[in-house]
């Protein structure tokens, strides 16, 4: 996977994870283009599209679009499963996740993603293990900090 973007129906970016080195301007340009292209798709169209030399796999969950850019040799169908797994993780963590959860707790969304995917590839295929690791890390965050005000940003 080269990058993953989460954005709303209005095109507002909610999460961006890049697995390739690019400058800020390049990232902005790519995001804008991809978002525009995906938002222009009609509901009857399939979840894959070609963009530059990559394949974009996207799926809409309620008001959020989950969008991954994969390479030519990657399996699009399993990428859809990867996206679904991430949504399941968020759902389990936040309890019936909605867009607002991700807006207000974006750093947690990142933490969860980073426990599931590393360098563009899934690192853990067990839902339980990912959630367990997050839980432990959260507890560590609370335990190691002694100053009440710096506990939670």
């Amino acid at each position: 996977m080269q990058f993953m973007l989460l954005f709303s129906r209005q095109g507002k970016l909610r999460l961006q994870k890049w697995y390739v080195p690019l400058s800020d301007t390049q990232k902005k340009k790519i995001s804008r283009e991809v978002i525009q292209t995906v938002l222009a798709r009609k509901p009857k169209m399939c979840s894959f599209l070609e963009w530059r030399d990559l394949k974009i796999v996207y799926k809409r969950y309620a008001s959020l679009y989950f969008c991954c850019a994969v390479e030519d040799q990657d399996n699009e169908l399993i990428t859809l499963e990867i996206i679904h797994r991430y949504v399941e993780l968020l759902d389990k963590y936040f309890g019936s996740v909605c867009e607002l959860d991700i807006i207000f707790n974006f750093e947690k969304a990142y933490y969860i993603l980073d426990e599931f995917i590393l360098g563009g590839e899934p690192q853990e295929t067990s839902k339980k293990n990912v959630l367990k690791a997050i839980e432990q890390a959260d507890m560590l965050q609370e335990a190691l900090s002694y100053h009440p005000r710096s506990q939670i940003p």
Partner: protein, 824 residues
């Protein structure tokens, strides 16, 4: 200073902003507060501030002043700080900034931290955005962690190693020992990431690949793991819709693909498991299909037995019928990849594929179109073409150009009859005429020229199409050209195929003149029409009208038109005696491939298209080595010219060099007569396709009884001249040279050049090949046409160049012993 506001508070506040300006104001205020807080080196709230900064960065605002703060957070002892710090590093820093190198030490420390979650953060960051320098510095640490028994860290280290290898491929070797027993792990996370690591290594290095195949016996291990996944019962931890760890299954299949590629033993070892997966996987949900998809890709890529391949194609065929459009999409993509190698198997699903042309999704339509063209053959051409033409009518503009080109190509290869071919072309031109590619025009013209018996029918249909619509330029260009060539057939009402229309010369000229003045006509089209009008001067009787038109355009603003008109004018005035010869009917042009459903010849049509470039010289845009320079005028001097020099700049005046004048009149502005002999056709052509050249009935008059003569016979190379008279013009002698080689070695790169005295005009067509086989095993033939209006004695100087036994040979000779009948 009051405590900086909390992150959630900030988010809430910003979201209340009603305008972009309001939001910007809030952000600026907060940024200022954060900046001063950073300046104060406040440890307590740094974490909170950076988090807020990251939020603002996501909204699109600059946050670079927070980069160093991220580093400070990473260096902190608090886990919360580290978490935000590393996140900030991944979002704000990248390898372009020198700042990121400062992270290296922190990461190194954290890789050895006592808490595995800290180690995890470090591994994650390194694996996500580590630069080559960082990777070099820290590879050792990663390698160490790859050998740990802690599966939480091991799996992360494996993916981190993948990143290191991608950044610094030379370091791949150092990870090899650690991979030894990766696959004996029970933990699925480690298994999955290990397979990814092994895949990366095998893909990058053939040595690694063979090492893993032979020494490590990777294939049996993977087969075993895959088997366990399929056979084992329900495992709640890894289950997805009844399938056990599909992510791992897909990854293993992909690695098997790489291991089995071009290796018989490996392929055989995995045959059974592939068949098992292909037949046993549940297909009701996407996840099962994902595994099947990967299986199909693997089966098609390795050396699988034919039964397995057929199974794979059938799976794809079933995919095509699936309701889920995603599945149909991947099926079409895969079929497109396999259609060349497993053509017959894919043919069985042709009707389903053709149905996909009507799909709503644009990507599916495109793939279905490409696949349909790949499946067209002599048997199904009529049916397929009907579907494809219907598709052409109704498809989006973005498809039309490709579809039109595809239709032409398919029609050319498999047309069941000439009439069908012409009809198909007409249909494309009239429905998608403006989308047709520019190079199609010359191809079509050549096609029409070669369908001799259809000329009357073609010109009639084109004329009728012009009456309807003159806006589609390619159609108009082809039509003008045809009317110019075959206008006489049009007015004489000779059409056999359909009811001949009644049209007068004036009506035809009206149409052509209409094109000249119309706003819709492109400059190129105007050029076509003017030349067509000119050509009709030898076919129609209303010459005066034509003369008038031509002289009017002599003062046209369009330089191209002006030039043509002026030269045509000169043709009427000073060179009227040459006019009939110059404007006579075009001979059949060579093609580099036949019309049969034989092997696909890549150069089909491509090289020919350059002949009919309507752009005038002076700039030669195509290299003359296309092998189809029909006009090869060496006339004007006795000196044998150099090969492939560029044409001298053209004089614009009417009474200019005869050479140039004739040069552009010949083929509605053909490419310049490169004053060189015609180089050979591409070597890749099997000679038998081109033998047709010499035996093509170029001229009706064969065997006029002129005896052949030997023009040259030296060093084993013998060149014989065979004569014909050209009909309708008796001033043109047609000579076919036969070159034979009686020595024991082939003569390669054979090039024949000829020059004639000033009073003659010479035209050299393409040779049949440029290798004269040894021991008289075959001939190279080439056709020369000599125009001899003054009936002078024919003399010729020839130059031969070839390579013999590795060394180049060159020779000049005079040919004076032409039999009198050849020039009288």
């Amino acid at each position: 200073m009051p405590a900086p506001i909390r992150l959630r508070e900030l988010i809430r506040t910003i979201r209340t902003a009603r305008t972009q300006a309001e939001e910007r104001e809030m952000i600026q205020k907060e940024c200022a507060a954060i900046r001063s807080s950073f300046r104060e080196e406040d440890n307590t709230y740094r974490c909170r501030n950076v988090a807020k900064l990251l939020y603002m960065h996501m909204l699109g605002y600059p946050a670079h002043f927070g980069q160093l703060e991220c580093l400070k957070l990473i260096a902190s002892q608090k886990f919360t700080d580290k978490r935000i710090g590393y996140l900030g590093a991944m979002l704000l820093l990248d390898e372009r900034q020198d700042v990121h190198l400062l992270m290296t030490n922190c990461i190194k420390n954290d890789l050895n931290h006592s808490t595995q979650y800290v180690q995890g953060l470090a591994l994650c960051t390194l694996g996500c955005m580590g630069s080559s320098e960082m990777c070099r510095d820290l590879a050792g640490e990663v390698e160490k962690l790859l050998k740990t028994s802690n599966s939480y860290l091991r799996k992360k280290a494996a993916l981190c190693a993948v990143h290191v290898i991608r950044k610094v491929p030379e370091l791949m070797e150092m990870f090899l020992p650690a991979t030894k027993n990766l696959l004996s792990e029970k933990n699925h996370g480690v298994l999955h990431t290990s397979v990814v690591l092994l895949t990366e290594m095998c893909e990058r290095s053939p040595d690694m690949l063979s090492h893993f195949r032979k020494n490590e016996k990777l294939v049996p291990q993977l087969v075993r793991i895959l088997k366990n996944l399929i056979m084992s019962g329900y495992s709640p931890e890894h289950d997805v819709s009844g399938i056990s760890d599909p992510f791992l299954q897909v990854r293993i299949l992909r690695l098997l693909r790489i291991l089995g590629r071009s290796d018989d033993d490996s392929s055989e070892a995995m045959n059974d498991i592939l068949a098992q997966v292909a037949t046993n996987t549940e297909t009701s949900k996407n996840v099962g299909n994902a595994i099947l998809y990967e299986t199909v890709l693997t089966i098609m890529d390795i050396k699988s037995e034919s039964g397995l391949r057929v199974l794979a194609i059938n799976i794809l065929g079933r995919f095509l019928l699936n309701n889920d459009k995603n599945i149909r999409y991947v099926a079409l993509t895969s079929l497109l990849k396999t259609v060349q190698t497993d053509h017959n198997a894919v043919q069985r699903h042709r009707s389903t594929i053709v149905d996909c042309l009507k799909d709503l999704d644009v990507s599916i339509k495109r793939r279905a179109m490409e696949l349909s063209f790949a499946l067209v053959n002599g048997n199904n051409i009529r049916g397929m073409m009907k579907e494809l033409l219907y598709f052409l009518d109704s498809c989006d503009p973005e498809f039309k150009a490709d579809c039109a080109s595809g239709v032409f190509l398919a029609a050319e290869k498999y047309a069941p009859s000439k009439r069908w071919h012409i009809d198909t072309i007409m249909r494309v031109l009239t429905t998608a005429g403006s989308y047709v590619r520019d190079d199609s025009v010359p191809n079509l013209i050549q096609l029409i020229t070669n369908s001799v018996e259809m000329h009357a029918y073609t010109v009639q249909r084109l004329y009728k199409a012009l009456l309807d619509d003159i806006s589609q330029q390619p159609l108009v260009q082809v039509a003008s050209w045809c009317i110019g060539e075959y206008g006489d057939l049009l007015v004489s009402g000779q059409c056999e195929e359909e009811e001949p229309i009644q049209v007068t010369e004036d009506e035809v000229l009206d149409v052509l003149e209409g094109l000249l003045v119309s706003n819709l006509s492109a400059p190129v089209t105007r050029g076509y029409s003017l030349t067509a009008i000119m050509k009709l001067s030898t076919r129609f009787s209303s010459v005066n009208r034509i003369k008038k038109v031509v002289s009017i355009y002599g003062s046209s603003i369009d330089v191209e038109l002006q030039q043509r008109a002026v030269e045509y004018n000169a043709l009427f005035k000073k060179y009227d005696h040459m006019r009939p010869a110059l404007l006579e009917r075009m001979p059949i042009m060579e093609k580099t491939a036949t019309n049969g459903p034989s092997e696909i010849v890549q150069t089909n049509g491509e090289t020919d298209s350059t002949v009919l470039d309507t752009k005038h010289p002076p700039t030669i845009t195509q290299p003359p080595s296309q092998g189809n320079d029909l006009l090869d005028l060496l006339g004007g001097n006795d000196v044998v010219p150099v090969i492939q020099t560029s044409l001298p700049t053209k004089p614009p005046s009417a009474g200019g060099e005869l050479l140039d004048l004739l040069g552009d009149l010949s083929l509605t502005g053909a490419p310049p007569p490169a004053p060189a002999s015609v180089p050979s056709v591409p070597m890749s052509q099997p000679p038998f396709l081109l033998d047709g050249l010499s035996s093509q009935p170029l001229f009706n008059d064969i065997g006029t009884g002129i005896p052949p003569m030997t023009a040259y016979n030296k060093n084993g190379l013998k060149i014989e001249f065979m004569f014909e008279r050209s009909n309708p013009n008796p001033n043109i002698a047609v000579i076919t040279i036969h070159a034979s080689n009686s020595t024991e070695a082939d003569m390669t790169d054979f090039v024949f050049q000829a020059a004639v005295p000033k009073t003659f005009q010479l035209q050299l067509l393409s040779p049949s090949s440029n290798v004269v086989p040894a021991l008289n095993q075959g001939n190279v033939t080439q056709v020369i046409r000599v125009l001899n209006p003054q009936k002078q004695q024919l003399r010729m100087r020839i130059k031969l160049t070839y390579t013999y036994k590795g060394s180049p040979v060159q020779d000049l000779a005079e040919v004076n012993n032409f039999p009198p009948q050849s020039w009288q």
